[in-house]
């Protein structure tokens, strides 16, 4: 086991001493975060949340179910988001809406309680006169949550919002819209978003230095020297990979902490999940680099593949630009479809109070992907390195 630690510590020393790439990686990520986080913060339509949405509530139902809904609308959990005023007649409410006295109207239909008790879809209708997307998102989230079922309400209100709505921050107009109904009034900021997406993206690219390390130490004459020693070269390799993983993780942990303490990026209350996910993402990046380096004989191919995947994953996860893939497939890629998406979903879920089952599932899948790549790396290592 001592060989593992020697190799791990040596790899860390070597990485830290390769000061130029080290600084470049940290600095370039930080600069991107600062530029994107500051320059694009204006595109975050979070101002809509500052003003509470004024809603005219028309209740045509006399049953108990609608009372629960009204209690829910008036609960303290939502009081920063909407303010309801009861109006008796829908036409009066619509007229007031046209005169901009309200931002929206919610009408509870007369058969609401009856339908609700029979288990049928209960009817609630919303009216808006302008195309205020933020208002629409708030009303839509609340009503859909209530309409669907009680667990949906838990996600949409108590735990803020569904995770999808946090990671798909961009609309067709390429304007970032935050749909999150943040617990305790915390509003997602561009800085939060870019801190995490840039850190996750960079962790894929930390594989470059791992590739260099592996080529230098295990695919050159050094291999013969290591093989001729009594130490098991597999242990030296895993120690080396552990060292590069630790270094890559510390690099990005530094960037994320810097963004938090200096620029106020929100990391939520559970840092274990945030940094645990970053560690898993680092592990994935390292294993990907190792598997490609040991598996492909052409030394340039792994570089090209990592570059393509790094950019591709970021793109599909909506890291820089709006994903070109629309609809459910696009939503899938943004949320779960790439390692970056999984990491972002887990971290944003943790920060903004997403469902823990989704967070841990994403982390689990990420860990599993790393384990699969580890298995592949071992197979390739046996072919190319082990005697």
């Amino acid at each position: 086991m001592i060989v593992f630690w020697i190799s791990c510590v040596t790899a860390i020393k070597q990485h830290v001493r390769s000061i130029t790439p080290y600084i470049m990686q940290v600095m370039s990520t930080m600069i991107l975060i600062i530029i994107l986080g500051s320059a694009l913060s204006g595109n975050f339509k979070t101002n809509a949340y500052v003003n509470t949405v004024k809603v005219a509530l028309v209740n045509g139902d006399k049953g108990e179910a609608s009372k629960e809904f009204i209690n829910f609308l008036n609960s303290s959990r939502l009081d920063k988001l909407i303010k309801t005023s009861t109006v008796d007649d829908i036409e009066i409410a619509k007229h007031a809406l046209q005169q901009n006295k309200y931002d929206g109207v919610i009408e509870i239909k007369s058969n609401y309680s009856e339908a609700y008790l029979k288990g049928n879809q209960a009817a609630i209708e919303t009216f808006m006169i302008n195309n205020d997307k933020a208002t629409f998102q708030i009303l839509n989230s609340i009503i859909n949550g209530w309409k669907n079922n009680s667990s949906a309400i838990q996600i949409a209100t108590k735990n803020c919002t569904s995770i999808e709505s946090i990671t798909s921050l961009q609309n067709n107009d390429n304007i970032i819209i935050d749909k999150a109904l943040s617990k305790g009034g915390k509003l997602p900021k561009a800085m939060d978003y870019y801190t995490i997406t840039m850190a996750v993206m960079t962790l894929i690219f930390t594989g470059f230095s791992t590739m260099g390390r592996l080529q230098e130490d295990f695919l050159s004459e050094m291999k013969t020297r290591l093989q001729s020693s009594p130490a098991h070269i597999g242990l030296i390799l895993t120690g080396n990979l552990a060292g590069t993983t630790v270094t890559g993780f510390l690099q990005m942990a530094f960037v994320v902490l810097f963004s938090h303490f200096v620029y106020g990026a929100n990391l939520g209350s559970n840092w274990g999940i945030v940094f645990g996910t970053l560690l898993l993402m680092t592990l994935f990046g390292q294993m990907l680099a190792a598997a490609l380096t040991l598996g492909l004989k052409n030394a340039n191919a792994p570089n090209a593949i990592i570059s393509t995947l790094g950019i591709g994953f970021t793109f599909l996860a909506g890291g820089f630009f709006t994903s070109p893939i629309k609809g459910h497939l696009g939503q899938f890629f943004v949320t779960y479809g790439t390692p970056n998406s999984l990491a972002q979903t887990a971290i944003f879920g943790s920060i903004y109070g997403g469902a823990s089952v989704v967070i841990y599932t994403c982390m689990g899948v990420l860990a599993m992907l790393s384990l699969i790549l580890l298995g592949v790396t071992i197979i390739f290592a046996k072919r190319r390195i082990l005697v």
Binding site: I2, V3, I6, T10, K13, Q14, R17, S18, S220, E221, M222, T224, R225, L226, Q227, S228, S229, P230, A231, I236, V387
Partner: protein
């Protein structure tokens, strides 16, 4: 015996690279292992280090049968690769520490050994400097040092003096001598014949997977069918002169190029006086006599020169 090779055979596909190789190495010997490219030298070394398994035959090291990954034996062997294989971003001391630890040395023993090796290779004052700032010779010395930290009983050195300045070369050759003097068994491969002549107690010459010669430099040169070469440069040369020289007693062959004539004489001919008498009327400019060298032995046995192969 430190090493015994018995009928070792190794094939790579259809290519027979070791063809029933046999040799023994005694403790404290410095063995020169010579061979042109493809002769089987590298495979022999790899088999000795336990890096490639042989297909048949037997390799014994330190009286134990040796196979791939036998760590108890690997601990007793040191390897100096031909290329400089050190970590450029670790200091000289850290490099030695790393390789020492791979061989299970730790604590005070490691520190002491690393200090000894740094002194031995003359890099003590550069112990905190990274090899990327070293000259080629210093890197070569560190390359050797990394194989010495664990005090190997058998040291395999693969062309340790390639591409370095004469001063560093002398330092390395002196170090090899010292290691030999303290009883380290050394297998030394090189393309520089003078190094082998000066250092090695015995020479193994390999060709096409066979050991074709095995003995001391003196033994091997005695086996050639000439003992002495005499080079004479004349003012003018003629066919009559060449014929007269062929008739001198003990002459086996006469080679002529322009005004330069090379005479190959039999063992114990003692014919220098007769050669001079025969030549004096043709205006001798210079005369030089030499005994056969290892280069001649290699050339005679393999039909190749090591340098040509290298190029």
């Amino acid at each position: 015996m430190i090493t015994i090779f018995r009928d070792a055979v190794k094939r790579y596909g259809q290519n027979l690279v070791l063809d029933h190789v046999n040799f023994d190495i005694k403790k404290g010997e410095i063995i020169g292992l010579l061979g042109s490219n493809g002769a089987g030298k590298t495979t022999t070394i790899k088999a000795l280090m336990g890096l490639v398994p042989i297909d048949s035959g037997e390799i014994k090291l330190f009286d134990e049968e040796f196979s791939v990954n036998k760590n108890s034996i690997k601990r007793r062997i040191g390897m100096v690769p031909q290329e400089i294989v050190v970590f450029n971003d670790l200091t000289a001391r850290e490099n030695l520490n790393f390789f020492g630890q791979l061989y299970g040395i730790k604590g005070m023993e490691l520190k002491t050994r690393v200090d000894e090796v740094l002194n031995f290779i003359g890099l003590k004052e550069y112990e905190k400097v990274m090899p990327k700032k070293f000259s080629g010779g210093m890197k070569r010395r560190l390359n050797i040092g990394c194989a010495l930290v664990h005090k190997p009983e058998l040291l395999i050195m693969d062309e340790p003096t390639v591409g370095i300045d004469p001063q560093s070369r002398n330092h390395i050759l002196e170090a090899v001598r010292k290691l030999g003097n303290v009883g380290t068994t050394i297998i030394y491969t090189t393309h520089y014949m003078d190094e082998v002549q000066n250092l090695c107690s015995r020479v193994l010459i390999m060709d096409t997977g066979h050991i074709i010669a095995n003995g001391s430099v003196a033994d091997l040169t005695k086996r050639l069918n000439f003992e002495e070469k005499t080079h004479i440069v004349f003012k003018k040369s003629s066919s009559e002169l060449i014929q007269n020289l062929r008739n001198v007693s003990g002459i086996r062959d006469v080679l002529s190029t322009d005004n330069k004539v090379t005479l190959l004489s039999q063992t114990g001919a003692s014919n220098l006086e007769d050669i001079i008498k025969t030549s004096q009327n043709y205006g001798i400019i210079s005369i030089q006599s030499e005994t056969p060298t290892l280069e001649d032995v290699f050339l005679t046995l393999t039909g190749k020169t090591l340098r040509d192969e290298e190029e």
